[in-house]
Amino acid sequence: MGEVILTMKGIDKSFPGVHALDHVDLEVRKGEVLALMGENGAGKSTLMKVLTGIYKKDSGTITYEGKEVEFKNTREAQDAGVVIVHQELNMLGHLTVAQNLFIGREFKKGITIDDKKMNEEAKKLFEKLNVDIDPTEKMSNLTVGKQQMCEIAKAVSFDAKVIIFDEPSAALTEAEIEEMFKIIRDLKKKDIAMVYISHRMDEIKVITDRVTVMRDGTYVGTLITKDCTKEDIINMMVGRVIYEDPKTHSAVPADAPVVLKVENLNAGKMVQNVSFELHKGEILGFSGLMGAGRTETARALFGADPKESGDIYINGEKVTINSPEDAVKYGIGYLSEDRKRYGIVVQKTVAENTTMACLYNFMKGIFIDKKKEEKVAQDYVDALATKTPGVDQLVVNLSGGNQQKVVIAKWLARNCDILIFDEPTRGIDVGAKNEIYKLMNKLAAEGKSIIMISSEMTEILRMSDRIVIMCEGKKTGEIDIAEATQENIMNLATREIN
């Protein structure tokens, strides 16, 4: 095994309210591929951002090629040879491949750009990597796979010694992944060190040498890939103790009627043949890793995004939902993970937001009955214990938890019986989180049916009566809470080893 090129030791980083990295260690060697794994929010990306200078660490040391370093920005990291290949491609479609590769450092001939030289250099680079791409081709004409190759080539062209791949395979086909692996193997031979972030177990097994696992911002351990199993890795990823009492059995009676039935819902790559049932008074958890297609499923169901096919039944009756208007008509309310963008109008008052979906109930002729509006809004403020000086307060001035309560009030005022909570506690502090949980349990007990999309394992195990697990746009399983464990959920949420 090669010598160590990069060591991160005791890296600590806090954001307001979050201890994102808690004394994390990482070691990368020349000519190896190190997998970096962990659940959503484990701190993988944060760690890489600290390394490449996007974030400043609070404490800890980074040693690179035997010297302690602290990169101020990605440019500095690049110049030193530490390059990140992002999941989203940062390419300009209307420029040629060569122009993209050398953007910001174009070859010049006097004051004009020397395209000929750039094309030659790009060609040399691709030859070195054994990739067949025409440097004069327009970037937008390439497949996503080829574009990813260009990203890698660009990284190599910086004379990189350490390359970080942040979920590089997310958008690639099997064949493209295979091609990418060929390049990675080639780079290994050239003694380049690589960090490979991915959720896909099969890829980890195929391409990496060692696996470092993180959990909740801490370093868990490092394994030799060929000596470990998928179960070993999952156990390290989820092996936390759940402090908040998890639900042990479903609170829903066995004969509770089905209020919502979704059959073979399809909407693009992220929603493929998803089917499930929701019972009255049930909290149905939707678990899965980033990009599993849970939000996309909810949005397609709600009519926020177009769907290709699929049947939806409400209380046994087949319905057509083509827009949020339709969904709301059938009593479905959607609470987005991004409240500020999709949930509330922050520059409007608590009262105005509360009545947003049911303003027709507050009309007196052509005028809005503001007294009635304020009274009803106040009733919900009281019922949900929303902390606000008054219903005429602008929502922008409320805290995250209280903003969430305003969104809940909006759907309750509309009398929605099916509520889709998409990451209901994201960005909400611990105390307010518990309040939201209590509220959801109360709503379910009162007969509302809830779909809860959550990326937090503890939240899933604490709240759900039943859990649907998705992976890469497909439903991979359904578990009753009585049988649910972190391990079997994570097993379904990650791709099988082929």
Partner: protein, 324 residues
């Protein structure tokens, strides 16, 4: 109970309006002093008011559009198109005066529907739509009138009764109608479902859509209201000046938008003040007449209103930036 900052934004809007009224009075006094009292004469006041009426209707209209976060650069030329087509119909085709007046409003309405539909349903950017319909309006007017100016009948003419909308003897009917219209606009914007949804979608269209609201319909409605008001503005324009020439009208876009934005309506949408628009229009009109009274040509006014729009929008943008 945690302490939350009291709604500073609304308070500030009120404060700004007080400042604006002060600015208006100071301007009036300054022009008066510079013209050695000439500016305080009755005829000058009538001139100012004539300008206020048509510009006011334009500005009220564009306030609804800007409240949705959109923009309309076609209002001036559309107003001219309304005045030219209906006036020409009256003069050449023997259309009765009453019908001609209704026609003017209908033409404005049609442009509003056209603009609104393209913006709301086809998602064509408002800037592009209104730039295009500005030229369409100019073109239609020129073709229809064979590029000739149209002179509406004078007060002495039996058909000159339409001028009573502006001034009936010594009664400033125009002022009364304009203020009533402004109050109605204020009620629509603040007390009806349409106004509520127009303001909300201007602030966050996606959140309103995901609340199950038909945002396209309400967004289009803002342009339709604007179109109707532009059609009415045309009546007040000819009521004051009688003669309209094809190919013009652009200069009033800037002035109407300046009046609206100066009054506290945010170009980013979601925040609009009818009261502010009325004061803004008064200031613009004062400025217009003041500059003429001082003996400068109208061109100076273009320069000044141009800078006013930039200053007002910059003030709005920087106020928002401070808040974030």
């Amino acid at each position: 109970m945690e302490k939350i900052k009291q709604n500073a934004f609304v308070k500030k809007a009120g404060f700004n309006r007080i400042i604006l009224v002060g600015v208006m009075l100071l301007m009036y006094l300054a022009f008066g002093a510079l013209t050695k009292g000439n500016f305080f004469g009755m005829s000058r006041i009538l001139n100012i008011m004539n300008y206020v009426y048509f510009l006011g209707f334009l500005s009220l209209g564009v306030t609804f559009v800007i409240a949705t976060g959109g923009i309309d650069f076609s209002i001036g030329p559309v107003m001219f198109c309304c005045a030219l087509v209906s006036g020409y119909s009256f003069l050449t085709h023997g259309v009765p005066m009453a019908v001609a007046l209704v026609l003017s409003v209908v033409i404005g309405l049609l442009f509003g529907i056209f603009n609104g539909y393209l913006v709301a349903y086809w998602k064509v950017p408002p800037f592009i739509v209104s730039m295009a319909s500005m030229n369409i309006a100019k073109g239609i007017a020129a073709v229809f009138t064979k590029t000739q100016s149209v002179s509406w009948p004078q007060s002495s003419d039996p058909n000159g009764w339409y001028r009573n909308f502006v001034k009936m003897g010594n009664i400033p009917t125009g002022l009364i109608i304009f203020l009533v219209a402004a109050i109605i606009c204020g009620i629509i914007l603040n007390k009806t479902k349409a106004g509520r949804y127009i303001l909300c979608l201007g602030s966050n269209k996606e959140a309103v859509r995901l609340s199950g609201v038909d945002v396209k319909k309400w967004e289009m409605l803002a342009y339709v209201i604007c179109g109707i008001l532009v059609g009415i503005a045309a009546i007040f324009f000819v009521g004051a000046y009688t003669t309209v020439q094809p190919g013009y009208g652009d200069q009033y876009n800037n002035e109407a938008i300046a009046g609206c934005v100066m009054g506290g309506t945010s170009m980013a949408g979601g925040l609009a003040s009818i009261g502010g628009t009325v004061i803004g229009v008064l200031i613009i009109s004062l400025l217009q007449q003041g500059i003429l009274a001082l003996g400068f040509s109208k061109d100076y006014q273009f320069i000044i209103t141009g800078f006013i729009v930039i200053a007002a929008v910059y003030a709005d943008v920087s106020a928002r930036r401070r808040k974030n």
